[in-house]
Amino acid sequence: MSAPAAATPTGPLIELEDIRKSYNLGLPNEAEVLHGLSFSVGRGEFAALIGPSGSGKSTLLNIVGLLERMTAGSYRIEGEEVNGLDDGALTLRRRTTLGFVFQFHHLLPAFSALENVTLPALMREGRVTPAQRERARAVLAAVGLVDAMGKRPGELSGGMQQRVAIARALVLEPPLVLADEPTGNLDTVSSDEVFTLMRRMHAELNTSFLVVTHDPRLAARCDRVLELVDGRLVHDGAPAGAADPVARG
């Protein structure tokens, strides 16, 4: 008798409904920066979040990443409402569901590339098993850093550091990776390389990506573009040039 197939979760991975975010609540200088945003991201989607500076992209990404709390609205991850969860529960959610890639790489400078990538496992279980170490090596190899595993971030170029950050975000195969201008600090060549790498990992692991970018060229290579202007979602759909699937790979 064959084992029953593992249940595949259905429905969107994340769903945001009427999200609002205000700063300085109750003060004379109270300012609402997100004005009732609603959208969802499905499993295996590769979406770009674009918009001019100050449009609220980073704030939205922080809310999606459970690093900031929304002022009002509803946010469900895999069907679970996260608005109102305490810090411990949010941290646990972040640990199991989300991977982060930041603009300035944000690796721990005191740890080698390999140690940075094994950190999530160490954080979760208090130790790194040989299998987890092997997995980290494999992911680092997949991002083209076979020879740089023992090096500290300070010894790596910006592009290489960002690859380490991508490897770290993906090593535990979270359902969703949030990238905040991951190529914003890189030259054009490195930027293309890093983006291509993210698309490849997305294709290999079927991980959802939500990528904040200023670069229309890169946004055009995503499956979907969410455009934010002054805290409002003004566009949600296919990117310009979507007819050219080759350009996206």
Binding site: G65, T91, T96, F102, L119, P120, M123, G126
Partner: protein
Amino acid sequence: MLGFESRVATRFLREGRMQTLLIIVGVAAGVAVVAYISALITGLQRNTIEKTLGAQAHVTLSPLDDVVLTARAPAGAGTSELVQTQPRAQRPRSIGNWELLVPLLEAMPEVAAVSPMVSAAGLAVRGEASKAIALMGVDLDRYDRIVSLRSKVVDGTARLGPGEGIIGRELAEDLGVRVGDRVGIVTGGVSDSLRVTALVDLGVRELNRRTVIVPLRTAQSLVGLPGGATGLDLTLVDIWSAQTVADDLAARWPYKAESWQQANAQLVAALNAQSVSTAVIRGVVLIVVVLGIASVLVVSVVQKQREIGILRAMGATQGQVLRIFLLQGAIVGALGSALGVLLAVVLIWAFTSFVLGSDGLPLFNITLEPALALRVAAIATVCGVLAAVAPARRAAKLDPAQAIRI
């Protein structure tokens, strides 16, 4: 357990190498001062007490003082009567039933040894020289258990047969007496002669100048108390229980019981003052250590804000971040303590090697007891953790989104 926290804590400390080194040296200096001062004062106090109690019982039982009892009819109403009573001269008196009392005292668990004594003032005479003396009649074996008399012999062999006596080294010099010579003893109207079998050094020059120790029977006949004992000397298992034991004895029997603390009230006050001063110094040093560790960790939290933000974003809990910084405090405290204890050992070695008395020997013995070293190290480590509490809480409460933006 704490694999993640300890890995990150040690890396953070290694990353801030100079900062970490400086604070460890700071903690080490503090621990060394505390351990050294504690050992020094303990050694000094032990030495002082040993010297004081070297020639003294822990508790002395003696008869109650003679008092004048007035039995008069009360004055009539409206009449005041002024009475002046001349206190009685205290004559040598024996403790009643002392021979029965000795086994009772010896049976007490707090008591290590009991020795009867007949003491009186007198004169030691040799040729034309005469010196005031404190005559002590004892049973040598029993008295040896009170003051370790045999270990204090500097010349001759301690022996107290009939007609024999032991005298202090300075008294022998004053009288020009050597071991084997005879000395005349006069008390009241009675005199006797004894052969000196040994000279002793009781550790206090004034005692050496006055002490004459004779057999109990000799003293009894010199003082006119046949079969009596003017006092019972007690040595206790724990010298610090002397006051309690003395109070207990005085309450149980109609005798005067005096502890060594009562007999040396000024010394005890000085020792207490010394202990308080040492405690104050230790407290201040520990506060400095705590502030040092805390200030370094506060700076570290500020420097590591971004890393803390990354860790929090990756899923580190507030508790994990808190423990990372508490562990740093503990590690700094523990390493500083270990180094500090080593430093204290070197300081103590230097003291005993280079600070010498006129006889070329160390002024007194000081050693760093392992228990003391462990206690100081443990306290410093706990202080390290306590010092880390405020910075650790601050780190744990950092807003991850804001920390990453910095």
